[in-house]
Symmetry: C2
Subunit: 213 residues, 2 copies
């Protein structure tokens, strides 16, 4: 193990030009109180930046705007800015604009401002995120009715996570509710966010580093 | 069309010895006010019974006990008794007893009495039905935590319907929530109720008519 440390870096490691870092569950554990940093992670981000490596924070976080998310992380001591964050909502907004889609939103209240510029009248698609407390029986039925009323239902899902841990226990993630709507409508959702290839490619493009195999 | 009516019955029709009738959406449309009979269905049940054919009501209804369900239908004018109804909850209870399973219930409040005889302490499986208003974010997370805490999660689903119509609109059915839990836990639910083969076979056995191809 000692050989791998210090200056005796392997060839593959010397070839690394940038890093994509996950955030929730990697840099910090989320929870009702805002969450707590995972031991060593604040220092790790500082060292990566000091090393000259490029760095982006690549998250499926959809319970807050990037502004709120970054502010929370800064409050925990992380060196992070909004411009360094790749998140599903802005990526979804690009898709909505490109395809003239007007979403019915089933998302967390705190994410709604990310869609401020998007026309939401007379919806022709549904966007689902980790809506948490907004995953009510009434809201799920409403999203379903919007979908089933379309000739060809379009469901855009901000991630496809199964579940995650908060300080008060495990919670079902957006992927579970995505599956419920997929099954009810007999459709396939389009996933924006990890693990979609296009999402990682966006993050690389934002770093200015081409993908390599 | 006239040839098919009256006494000129086809050979296959003369071979029919009994009928399984679906109920919700076939005999009546359900809704918050109890629902309304579908035109001609009260008379159809009367004529089937008068014809001497055996008859069972085969339902995936899990929003009420059979007693409540039958009472509602009688109130609409249907000739129906509890002993004529094949429903998922009693079938599930047989399975629970046979396999010594102690369920955590995610079902409609009105269905709970069907499980009165079942030991529900220290659950080692989850039973999901059409819980309707009980499909809350908190209840779904709780059912998920019970499942994911098991070495080998057992999920028993009372039906796998996608959605149904009530007088005030379409509602997601138990199948959608079943899929959410299946995906989150990476498991397959065991379905009790239509379209499970065993469920139809039970109904036939209760009528005393052997299955034929």
């Amino acid at each position: 193990a000692a050989r791998r440390g210090g200056r005796e870096m392997a060839a593959w490691a010397r070839a690394v030009r940038g890093l994509l870092l996950d955030v929730s569950g990697v840099l910090y554990d989320s929870g009702g109180d805002g969450g707590v940093p995972i031991a060593g992670s604040v220092e790790a981000v500082r060292r990566i930046k000091a090393s000259g490596l490029k760095l982006r924070f690549c998250t499926n976080e959809t319970q807050a705007t990037r502004e709120q998310f970054v502010k929370k992380l800064q409050g925990m001591g992380f060196d992070i800015s909004v411009a360094e964050v790749t998140a599903p909502a802005p990526a979804a907004c690009r898709i909505l604009k490109e395809r003239s889609l007007r979403p019915h939103l089933l998302v967390h209240n705190d994410l709604v401002p990310e869609f401020a510029e998007i026309d939401k009248t007379n919806p022709n698609c549904v966007v689902i995120g980790d809506a948490a407390e907004n995953f009510t029986y009434a809201n799920l039925n409403e999203a379903f009715r919007v979908l089933i009323g379309m000739e060809k239902p379009v469901l855009i899902s901000l991630g496809r996570g199964r579940y995650y841990k908060e300080t008060d226990g495990l919670k079902l993630d957006v992927g579970a509710y995505m599956k419920a709507l997929e099954y009810a409508c007999d459709i396939q959702a389009e996933v924006v966010g990890k693990p979609a290839k296009m999402f990682f490619e966006s993050a690389l493009a934002e770093m200015g580093i081409p993908p390599q195999q």
